[in-house]
Symmetry: C2
Subunit: 260 residues, 2 copies
């Protein structure tokens, strides 16, 4: 139970773990839910741009948007790219605590204590919008819909981290990996990106760390998923994953639960 695994909070992990081909903007609704979520994200970004014209910051793979312990001044909203959160314990343990996508907020954990609780690291080239917290609050006072946006973002993070916890606590290893892929694919679909082929931007070790298992267990789970034709590997490396049918991932998870 302790490995270099990475366990996904589906909502959060999906959003960040994988980076779909950034090309392929907004085709058709592919899942069933993409439309409303996509619209929500677009409206949110549009509102932010209009009401507080935030500073834009381009980030590259490996850049730290902020670090644990750093003084909290700004919140961040992802416009593009994938960001992972790394949580540090006092005794040195560290864990990937989430993956974030376009439209997600970063740094909300810093409000309480005035300093950030984890590192936020770009997995990709992308752009984050920098929102001074004070300035944001002033804007919220003028524009209630902005306040509503902020509250919903926080609320969503609270709810989705509970879902992650439940996946990790109640699913066997294979199902956790499948659920992680499902989360990833769903997050991408919600943002109008293609989900039939996605590029994992995390190593097996990171995925395992996130999911509470070893890298070997992640590898074996992926091999089994491929053997069962639930996923397929594209390209040469084993980082391009094809997911012909997201529903098949859910079936796989249920099969794992049933056989236990």
């Amino acid at each position: 139970m302790f490995e270099t695994s990475f366990s996904p909070t589906h909502a959060a992990a999906a959003e960040e773990a994988c980076l779909a081909a950034r090309a392929t903007p907004m085709a058709q609704p592919r899942l069933g839910l993409p439309q409303p979520v996509a619209a929500r994200i677009e409206q949110a970004l549009e509102l932010l741009a209009r009401t507080i014209s935030p500073q834009r910051r381009v980030v590259h793979e490996g850049d730290r948007i902020y670090r644990a312990g750093e003084r909290f001044v700004n919140l961040y909203v992802i416009n593009s790219g994938l960001i992972k959160l790394i949580n540090l314990a006092a005794d040195g343990r560290e864990q990937v605590a989430g993956v974030k996508f376009r439209g997600d907020w970063l740094g909300l954990d810093g409000i309480a204590d005035g300093e950030f609780a984890c590192d936020a690291i770009a997995m990709d080239t992308g752009e984050v919008w920098v929102l001074g917290y004070d300035k944001l609050l002033k804007a919220c006072a003028r524009e209630p819909s902005l306040m509503n946006l902020l509250h919903k973002a926080m609320s969503r993070q609270i709810a989705s981290s509970r879902d992650s916890l439940m996946s990790i606590c109640t699913l066997p290893a294979d199902a956790r990996v499948a659920d992680f892929l499902r989360f990833l694919a769903e997050s991408l679909a919600e943002r109008g990106l293609r989900t039939d082929q996605i590029l994992l931007r995390m190593t097996r070790a990171e995925i395992g760390n996130y999911l509470g298992m070893t890298l070997e267990s992640v590898s074996r789970a992926l091999s089994r998923l491929a053997r069962d034709k639930v996923i397929a590997f594209a390209g040469k490396g084993r980082r391009d994953v094809q997911i012909p049918d997201i529903g098949a991932l859910s079936s796989f998870i249920q099969r794992c639960l049933a056989s236990a």
Copy 2:
């Protein structure tokens, strides 16, 4: 960089798993941190009482403050008693997702989608304050410190659920149980309650569900903790736990990590 470790979230688990003897109000600082946290909680409740004189609702063991799927209208703040949160998955899996204490907010997960994502159940007789969300927002507009309170409450939940995830993902079973007790004792200490003897208000099955292990594993972990004199059982049942030294729990956890 990432290892296969998984660590439990101390903060969240402690808040709910155990119930200290409610008698023994506010003696002395016992840990080192209680004072500031206790003061923060008192000030928060005082501010709420003064600015929006919330409706007060007495709850008894087993009462549901709200249920998953119910329409979100109110937020709740615990004045006394212990509340557990139960998360439900679509396929029927359920999990204890948290334990909440005096000063904690409930229902924040409902803001995003307009309905609650889990059940909140009293483990104890207690009192919750009911805050109409709309009314609260209006009061926040008049009183910025109230808004600050709300934001910090949400932020704290985000940060502490990450810590919980880490505990569960990076600690072996025995250490998870120890960490849970530590969380519990610390939460009680922060609220000025005695921590040398606490009454668990959850069954072994509930604790195990919360920590991602079986009830037998919880039982064995507690037995080992007692054999190592880190805890002791008082009274007849095995639900009264004495914790002479909270530091010994941390040492125990480190010992578990070292031996692996």
